[in-house]
Symmetry: C2
Subunit: 274 residues, 2 copies
């Protein structure tokens, strides 16, 4: 990207402060599956508002509850600061929209603690290991799909490459593993950063597809921990579901950067359609 | 327990509605380590207030951010309903206390979605497996500790039995595994239920102790998913830390009931002392 251009993600998560703690945003259908805007994309917009509202700029831990589906178009994000400290600050955020009857409806409520990732001690005692996956070149692109016109608008935002072991669902042969793995990068070349990691943890197809579930798997709640600023280069994302029961499932996400650092972890609770 | 008695947990997390969305509670030092009240106990009190405020009674997913240490004694919990639906409702809660200067300070802010666990479909496709642990009889009790007077007040609330493989820290020989496992039951015989699971996920000693860390490991944020009403009998709790880095760590908790059902999952972000 040239210096004069802004990335899709930054343009489509931009927020404009209307007054202290109140932000306007214009949500883009480019980040939707059909009519439904991706939860991670929405978390990116909310995260950007909180980064402006709070004295610390990096989300350390953020939880969002998705109340009703968010439509593309105008939205307002209202933030409320709970506490500001030396190393951490905490605040809530509500994303609201005006519905067709002129009524303001809260779409998403979030709660987050922010800090400064660059101020953290460098000591890394991570025992988790990066996922076993083929190299970027050996993974498969949605551009390899039988009919490119079927590629969802959302998927065009990324240069994602999937572990072939987790794409059986795309050809009607789900593995039953409850796993999804991909190399993640933005199609327009934007490097990842702490804010875009909020999108990354929700950017892959649902693990439920590999469990033979078809149709929408709506997120009820998503909590993400951002643990380090990602190094440049593609990220590896590994999703795992181990507890699909009672009509709900959890989906765990790990995001690894090019230095094998575990830069983000997330868990969402989603509804598993019948 | 006789019919006339109330369990310690229910007595010490009781809330009294002062007005719509405002509850008084009296927090007990019985649930503290030294001066610090346990985060799971506090989540139990908050969870009880939300269960009263929302039309659904079971926490499905709840996140709490711990802003400043909560003292024993009086506290007020204020709730705010975000949305009520047919199967799920969502609300926020703030636990506040008046400090020694007469100033009201917010100690904890939480966000939760509630539902009705008994209305869930019975289909269970869980692939996760219960933890490998010795039987209850083969596990070790804090009553076996060299000096019973050193047993923290908090520990006396439980009839907990620890996997011997995870108690090296108690004798100065931490395993380095970042794991903690125990059988969990209340000392007074109270059966577990969805609300008490909020305590259970934070009731064990920190995994950090098995990583050689000593001292307080304060919780920044805790998110718990309650997935099923636990069957009667002791629970198995398995904690795992895999990403201690930059002065923070994540601690994952799984709670299994006597029917081998994964009834609760939680993850907290905590500060790892130097």
């Amino acid at each position: 990207m040239s210096d004069a251009s802004i990335s899709e993600f930054d343009r489509d998560t931009a927020v404009r402060r209307l007054s202290p703690g109140e932000y306007a945003t214009d949500l883009s259908a480019r980040w939707s599956f059909g009519q439904v805007l991706n939860g991670g994309y929405l978390l990116g917009a909310i995260g950007r508002a909180l980064a402006d509202a709070l004295p610390h700029g990096d989300p350390f831990t953020i939880s969002a509850h998705y109340l009703t589906a968010t439509a593309s178009g105008p939205a307002v994000i209202r933030t409320d600061t709970a506490r500001t400290g030396r190393s951490l600050s905490t605040g809530s955020a509500s994303l609201v929209q005006t519905d067709e009857n002129g009524i303001e409806v809260e779409r998403i409520r979030a709660l987050a603690t922010y800090g400064d990732l660059d101020s953290l001690t460098g000591e890394v005692r991570t025992t988790a290991k990066p996922p076993h996956m083929p190299s970027y070149e050996e993974c498969v692109s949605t551009n390899d799909a039988p009919d490119p016109s079927l590629i969802p608008e959302f998927a065009r935002r990324f240069a994602m490459r999937f572990d072939p072991a987790t794409v059986g669902w795309a050809v009607g042969a789900p593995s039953g593993s409850g796993e999804m793995r991909a190399w993640f990068a933005f199609a327009d070349g934007r490097e990842s950063d702490p804010l875009s990691l909020l999108l990354t943890v929700d950017a892959l197809p649902p693990t439920a597809f590999e469990l033979g579930v078809t149709g929408w798997v709506p997120t009820v709640e998503l909590t993400a921990h951002v643990r380090a600023r990602p190094a440049p280069g593609p990220l590896r994302v590994a999703l795992t579901t181990r507890n699909m029961a009672g009509g709900y499932l959890e989906e765990d996400a790990e995001v690894w950067d090019s230095t094998d650092r575990l830069v983000a972890q997330a868990r969402q609770l989603a509804r598993a359609p019948h």
